[in-house]
Symmetry: D2
Subunit: 304 residues, 4 copies
């Protein structure tokens, strides 16, 4: 019998006292203001109690974590049609993402690199009546939490400084892989990334991926087949060019965001979310990566 609370407490103690907590993302001005010492973990067990520690109930910007939810939405609506416009291979690219996009004629490597997520945003704009409102509602429904909101200041901040995303969207457009207007697509994309959730909400939003497609209320949002595929992409592509390292050290499907959040899951067993805003040099939460590594090492719970 595993004493989850003791394990979370020990991880928290051990990591919280580290002097080096990584660097808070500075390229989005609004995000740069978050206190670097924040740290929380929330464990949501499929058939069992929840456990948590630290700042688990403080909302933060989920950023790239939203890519899993937008992809899941597009995948559920379009099925394998989505793969006409993007691929499912890891990018394996330590430097940057436009090079590969250019080399591969505007077909993004996978839905979790920026260019791939922008293509998904473009699809959702074509598919949804009120794209931003409808997507936010989807996130609220899958999380069973109607309080979840965009942070409009963060979205505006990214719209002002997100030149690299404008570059990606225009490059996609030049290859004919963007149907809607660049500004419209990026407005959606920046809003999607600006969604704020706390660790507990994140574990609820990702519950269906660990529970054969059904959310905590038992409502089906995705098929088992779709859930398995989304999990596979998270494992191979969820952590930029540190995906192999995360699979190697942690061994769970998961996704990180530059807001310092990481969510991961073991099918049939649990979802878990960590938050600490300091990032390592690959752009993933420094304490979050270590916390999950310690968690799977101590519990021996991983997909491998």
């Amino acid at each position: 019998m595993i004493d989850y609370q003791a394990i979370l407490d020990e991880i928290y103690q051990r990591l919280q006292q580290r002097v080096d907590k990584g660097e808070v993302a500075s390229y989005i001005p609004e995000l740069a203001q978050v206190a670097p010492e924040k740290f929380g973990i929330y464990l949501n067990r499929i058939k069992g109690d929840d456990f948590y520690v630290g700042d688990w109930d403080e909302p933060f910007s989920i950023q790239s974590i939203s890519k899993v939810l937008s992809f899941a939405k597009a995948f559920s609506l379009q099925k394998n049609q989505v793969f006409k416009r993007l691929d499912v291979e890891p990018s394996g690219n330590p430097f940057n993402h436009l090079s590969l996009l250019e080399l591969e004629n505007g077909i993004p490597r996978n839905p979790f690199i920026n260019s791939g997520a922008i293509v998904i945003a473009d699809m959702l704009i074509s598919l949804l009546d009120n794209p931003k409102e409808d997507f936010l509602q989807f996130v609220r429904d899958i999380s069973n939490d109607q309080t979840i909101q965009f942070n409009k200041k963060v979205a505006a901040s990214e719209a002002e400084t997100g030149y690299n995303n404008y570059a990606a969207a225009n490059l996609l457009k030049s290859f004919g892989n963007l149907k809607n207007d660049v500004d419209e697509v990026l407005d959606f994309y920046f809003h999607q990334c600006s969604i704020e959730m706390n660790c507990k909400q994140l574990t609820k939003a990702f519950y269906p991926f660990a529970n054969r497609g059904k959310c905590m209320q038992g409502k089906p949002h995705l098929t088992l087949n779709q859930v398995k595929r989304v999990n596979a992409i998270m494992l191979t592509c969820g952590f930029y060019d540190e995906a192999g390292e995360f699979a190697f050290e942690v061994g769970l499907p998961g996704k990180s965001g530059v807001g310092g959040g990481i969510v991961a899951l073991l099918p049939g067993e649990f979802t878990i979310a960590c938050w600490s805003p300091g990032l390592n040099e690959k752009g993933n939460s420094y304490l979050g990566m270590h916390a999950l590594e310690l968690f799977t090492t101590k519990t021996n719970l991983s997909i491998f």
Copy 2:
């Protein structure tokens, strides 16, 4: 209760009648002579009976599948020291492998691309008294089968035509990431790749990776921690630039070879091996990929 035999039979029937069976690898002259219609599957369940169909007992050249075994051997001897000389990230490279090796100063992306496996071969030469004999003995022991052999004609054939591997080894040497002589390292490497096994033997050789490190005789060969890590690398890097696709469609750690073999596994549940010499355009067994995709779809058994 899953009727494994019925599932294997159905997969076999359905795929065996396909006209398109892919292309047999021609760059190693000895391999080009294998009959393209060969097709076999062997399922080895951890706590249960075995099931099989077709040419499961016919030996073939395991080629790159050997990279998992050589890495496992080096990893068990050197622990995390191996990662001073190579990484664990997917290469994500559709064209070729020397470019990345050059760009990353002679540090191979992972142990399952050729350059990575050549570095592992170099380590084993430094570590083993009689490298080729000792490694073959390790493969025999982990498989509990003393009849396993090198195919010296295949090894010689590859030594004569394997210019790309000579290029990789020399490039590694130019970066100081090869300690032994290029010819000596490649002689070992070509022998390792020339090992012949049938589907049944392969499922036995990979049994420890599904059984917490212990082979069918219950003898520990690797720690649970090591096994989880090897499985993670298989999942993210086991199928060249089709790794994401295999994770997506099949959802199991596995490894393919240009001899047409594929071995895959579900921890705690089974190891499975397929063999069909025709390859798809990515260099993985055409029927083998489809067989495993059908198997995990029909059984709903995958890590995700």
Copy 3:
């Protein structure tokens, strides 16, 4: 004594009857409407008569040829300061230009690839009081022709469809190598490219580069030292990834544009301009390349 008129006539006859004239650029809608059979040559000798044939007096869109003039202007104003923000090396890149820009942290390879010319446009906006008007006046003055105009329809057409240039400008911005607003810079850039000139006017505009910096009226526009450097960049970078081929086959500094124009020069001897809107697969005028190759072969006049 060379009979220039006979040589131009022969080249014109020989090439005019070719069935294959290349493809008119279609990515800028306005340019796609030009008649593909247009073909003219104008030779402007520094110390001697002019010679011409065909449609030498019909104006066309100079497009990338304008990059030499904008660079010359910025270079004359900023001297070697310009090289803090771009380089002078050939890009050698057959596929595309954003990859290199990304790999080299936003420093364009040279002023004649799009990203380099966009950086130059950004400099001119900062340096000139009325950027578009002042630059047009510079082109008129150096050409001694006050009738030269922007084609506002072409500029607007490119602003609507030039996604790749928007991608480049945003990528430059993301690396901090664009000081002004993306839209403002590209508005200037698209206007600069839309300038219309005929072959005769082009030979006048490039006269200073063959005449130690002085235009036909004898007025100095650049120093000898600057002229030599601009000529060097034309030779190594003037024809995208066909620069080596042009140096090899023609042996003159020159510059091409997707409008089908090419201008080239031999210091102290002549400037020459060709126009034929059909392009080869590298994006350079198909007949124009051949015309210049024949011209230097027949006259034995080249820098080598």
Copy 4:
């Protein structure tokens, strides 16, 4: 009237007293032993006297400078046939050369990068009866100097440590762009690079490139057409990824070698050779680059 001796003396004085003279190449052990303070210049005027200063009569390893001579030999024997197996574009590659070779399916960018010169060596082996002897004789004849020799110790030193060249040759072989045996080709190549000449001899060897194909004895070695093309390739590809810089700062066709030699020429006017073994970070002679830059600035003699 230019006072060449005064100019050479001034350049010599000014550069000789520099503390920073670059780094002597260390990757070929034999070359690492050369005294770094050596420095000589020799000017050979086509229609006029010679001028020289410093260590102009001391032999050094010409290394990559030999690529011009081997290419000239192959080009004179095979005409444009040589371009079936290599191209004439600058590589523009700051990092390394195998990447491009791989990306472009074994067709080297130009004859002056290592892989291109190795293809040329392969051609010469097929074309010459006694490849090494015949090529050395060609160099002696074009230079009108029968004392020129291979340095067998340097050739042997490079054969032992030239792993990068072995990688390139094997990669070429894997693409089918090497007809002869890898070891045989590299033995020829390492000998060719090991040729020793002094500055005066180099200016004689390159005399035909400035004199319409005829050597100092008036004997034709190449056609004017061939000479112009070799000069064009020297200009665009003669200095690795510093070719643009050399064209920009010096403005002459030329070629450098890691032995610290540089030879350059102005058609109809002169050939000039510099030697100083310290290299800049691009692998070109540090003082030699500066000497030529000062020489063309002071004399205003350049092709542009």
